[in-house]
Symmetry: C2
Subunit: 341 residues, 2 copies
DNA sequence: GTGAAAGCGCTAACAG
DNA sequence: CTGTTAGCGCTTTCAC
């Protein structure tokens, strides 16, 4: 562990190993045209000197930056964190690094970041819960710039994306509640600008229809995926002359808001009101009663998206469309049959 | 918006504007030695061509990467997200980008990342909740590599760091409970490897001492900052022959675990047991009852740390030590005087 | 197999 | 004020 203060370049390594610096470069890049014996000598020299390749230089000369841009709306809930965990795992494997941009749900920022990043700052883009991808998907596609959308329903165009089976998730959860005996099921939507929110609602509606339960507009509350929406929506439901016996929130944090509201009214979950969420964030299994919820394979979505992006970077011509990972109903403690009346 | 597919370099701009490419470089770098008129012409040419400077090349030639490395343990709780929000705001202002590394609390990863990053990949390092900084602080300091520790108590060495007044926060909260009339106050610690956890406990102890309340080892449960610790710890407390009337958890997520445990026992917060947290993550004000907690100025810590780092990058010789931002007790609904017996 | 040479796009002296 | 000239550290030809 020689700790010279100065930067060690391939030239230093070359001198140390007694080869030309071109050969060192070959070793670094795992070029086959190096005698095993020479390779060994170079590797040893690198270690002895504590050599670390300069990324900037590699990029300049070679073309790749070894950076992947990651755009996320925010880091507030565990939701994004889980996705990033998956992305991270996959990228680390390939020696790529993540450049993080937080858009705070500002559409203009999103477009601006994308525009700049696509001009060579990163090798590819991962867009989580993109707000208005329509603005830039065209440009990205035309330039053949690699990108993958995470958790977004296509804008009609078919472009690389990974998401979950939101419709099915909404359907399954609602069906589960119906089979438990519930007839009045409140639904709190997500932010309806997002395709996933629309799909979950559609799934809920479809299940009602299948079981011939009339839809009641009073039992649908439009939220935005934030916890207070769950609270407010539930309060509104509970004030109804004929309140629901179960409430299905479009994500877990809103479901927690619902739980708070139910308790606030002096009622109990699940005895008086069943509560069901969506996502299965880490918190879901930790609250009491543990939340029954529709699991999204968040970490896996991140991992799959990263893989897709890497493929796309290797073979830009390859056509890939949307991949849907399946959701799964995770039954815990927050739902039970309604009280008999 | 000329959309040539090829990369546009300063040479193209130079040709377009009818100047040498050295002049274009000056314009990019806001060099004063350019005739306003010429600058204008160059700027126009850049716009016309849609020029974006190549970061890799700038770094290679100029020395700065315009990237800041950010090491975080994980992205699970809102806690880190808030800090990042502050960092982000400050860095965006300066046109710097964030390279994200998630260590997942693995000490070896932490050291490895730091070692690599410090070798020119980024201009500076921001280390949130570092696990074993002692391993690399020496090297970093010796090389005069700019870095700032966030939320970590110094290892004896005095190095750039920003944190909160954890001791005072622990003291204030405990004092508040005592003044409410509580005598038996359960305390759930954080991960005791971390200085902040130690300080909060020390503050708790100091307050007890001040008010001549004997410390009871049964009322201290060692946790690790995760929600289940709060649940388990509270369960243990509640099983005591003489259970506490108030429980102070070393962070908010553990406090939420405590709330769950209290409810699980059929008791109410705050009527039967008061609960107090630490951090004031966004969730704290959203749960019911809203959590009384010690607020850490998380976002501001991020902002201040970023500023410190930028200063350090500009003036590497400058000596800076630890900055402590003050905590504040935020009184909401989860605490009240104990039931009279 | 390996060495030598030519840039990648830009900054930073250095001359005028 | 502006043009010119060297590199920054590395990948890639292209020879040998």
């Amino acid at each position: 562990m020689t700790d010279k203060n100065l930067k060690i370049t391939i030239k230093d390594v070359a001198a140390e190993a007694g080869v030309s610096f071109g050969t060192v470069s070959r070793v670094i890049n795992n070029d086959i045209h190096v005698k095993p014996e020479t390779r060994e000598r170079v590797l040893k020299a690198m270690e002895r000197l504590g050599f670390v390749a300069n990324r900037q230089a590699r990029s300049l000369a070679g073309g790749k930056t070894h950076f992947i841009g990651l755009l996320v709306p925010d880091l507030g809930t565990g939701y994004i964190g889980e996705i990033i965990r998956g992305i991270d795992a996959e990228l680390t494997l390939q020696g790529l690094d993540l450049v993080l941009y937080t858009t705070h749900r500002t559409a203009s920022k999103e477009a601006a970041y994308v525009a700049n990043l696509a001009k060579g700052m990163v090798d590819g883009l991962l867009l989580v819960l993109p707000r208005n991808p329509a603005d830039y998907i065209g440009v990205l596609t035309q330039r053949k710039f690699p990108f993958v959308l995470i958790d977004h329903q296509g804008t009609g165009k078919d472009c690389p994306a990974v998401g979950a089976t939101n419709w099915q998730g909404g359907y399954d959860a609602t069906e589960y509640l119906i089979k438990l005996g519930h007839r009045r099921i409140g639904f709190i939507t997500g932010w309806m600008d997002l395709g996933c929110a629309q799909d979950r609602l559609a799934g809920y509606r479809a299940a009602l229809r299948t079981y011939h339960i009339p839809e009641d507009p009073d039992l649908i509350y439009e939220g935005t995926f934030f916890q207070p929406d769950g609270y407010t929506g539930a309060m509104k439901f509970l004030d109804l002359p004929d309140p629901p016996t179960a409430i299905f929130a479009s994500n877990d944090v809103m479901a927690m808001g619902v739980m708070d509201a139910v308790r606030m009214r002096g009622l109990r979950v699940p005895e008086d009101v069943s509560v069901l969420g969506f996502d299965d964030i880490p918190q879901a299994s930790l609250v009491r009663p543990a939340l029954t919820t529709v699991q999204q394979p968040l970490e896996n979505m991140g991992r799959v998206a990263a893989q897709m992006l890497l493929d796309l970077i290797d073979q830009p011509e390859r056509k890939v469309g949307r991949i849907e990972l399946s959701t799964k109903l995770v039954i815990r403690e927050s739902c039970q049959p309604p009280r008999s009346r």
